[in-house]
């Protein structure tokens, strides 16, 4: 059986098949690269604020916060906080984002008022996502292991060495509204 296969593969008629395989392989690489490049493009701040829903609301608010401008000039852009770094998680988020494209097409959020009305439900999904992954995106930049408590303020040290260190709470439990205005916080834990 194996031997039969081998003679078949060596025969001239199979040259065509080799050729097709090679093309397929090269094509795969190009497609893969292209796919990832497309992913890269959609992973930039420019892309996110290409939609007025994002530009006029969350982006304008974020411009006043520490993650847009600070003394060290290191920035956190939209995808840094909203798109997972791990490839599989990223794909999942990208697929979930088709809802955003749908929202765009159907004009879910045309005005500031519509955005504000919609904010609580969007924020809740983001909080849940971050709670579930233990604020992974924050931790990509802020590593608890390397936080120098002697450089932090009293309040930070108290909270970080207690609830955070013990794993009882995660960043997003205490740092809601770090980059945007908040929705009505009635009933939200700790508000």
């Amino acid at each position: 059986m194996l031997k039969n296969m081998w003679t078949f593969l060596k025969s001239p008629s199979s040259a065509a098949m080799w050729f097709i395989l090679a093309i397929g392989f090269a094509g795969g690489i190009i497609f893969w690269g292209g796919f990832n490049t497309a992913l890269e493009v959609t992973n930039t701040e420019e892309f996110c604020i290409g939609c007025h829903e994002m530009q006029d609301n969350v982006y304008e608010e974020y411009r006043e916060t520490i993650h847009y401008a600070n003394r060290s000039g290191v920035r956190a852009t939209c995808p840094d906080c909203h798109v997972p770094k791990k490839w599989t998680d990223k794909i999942v988020r990208k697929i979930a984002a088709s809802k955003e494209v749908w929202g765009k097409l159907t004009g879910l959020i045309d005005t500031r008022e519509e955005f504000v009305d919609h904010r609580r439900s969007m924020a809740e999904r983001e909080w849940k996502r971050m709670k579930d992954n233990d604020s992974l995106e924050c931790r990509n930049c802020h590593n608890f292991e390397y936080m120098d408590f002697s450089e932090q303020g009293n309040r930070s040290v108290k909270m970080h060495s207690d609830a955070l260190a013990s794993g009882e709470k995660t960043c997003i439990d205490c740092h809601k509204g770090i980059a945007h205005e908040l929705p009505d916080m009635k009933g939200v834990e700790n508000w």
């Binding site: 006043e64 916060t65 520490i66 303020g153 009293n154 309040r155 930070s156 108290k158 909270m159 509204g177 205005e181 908040l182 929705p183 009505d184 916080m185 700790n190 508000w191």
Partner: protein, 157 residues
Amino acid sequence: MKLLSLLVIVVTTLSINPIVKAEETAVTNVNPGGLATIRGAAPLEETREAERLKRVIKDKNPIARNYVHQPPVVPHQTRGYRVDKNSNKCLSCHSWKHAAETGATKISLTHFETRDGKTLSDVSPRRYFCSQCHVTQADAAPLVENTFEPVESLGNE
């Protein structure tokens, strides 16, 4: 007819010119006359260079009050803390509900009273906007010398 229009032109130019002149002199000759505010003297037509921004102190322990009923000053940074109809960042630590856990000073019960002395079950609207009375402190020298002595009863040395 021609004469009339000429007359009109002459009269209008004559009447406009002095006004313009007066305005010019008014602007160029302003002199503070030796008067100065605590921020220094600047002739009106000049824009003074802005003062450098003062740095807000980072976290500190509570700062003693100087007199009875003084709104305590804020001993920490509050940059980016929003207080609006949706959320109140200050109360997320200083409210009675959270103060025990966060270690923050509780708001006083006067904050639950309306202006005609009724006590409400939550913070009174007139006390909701914290930074109207409580301000962060900068590391800055006093602009004017003064001889104020804080009251002893509040734990000042």
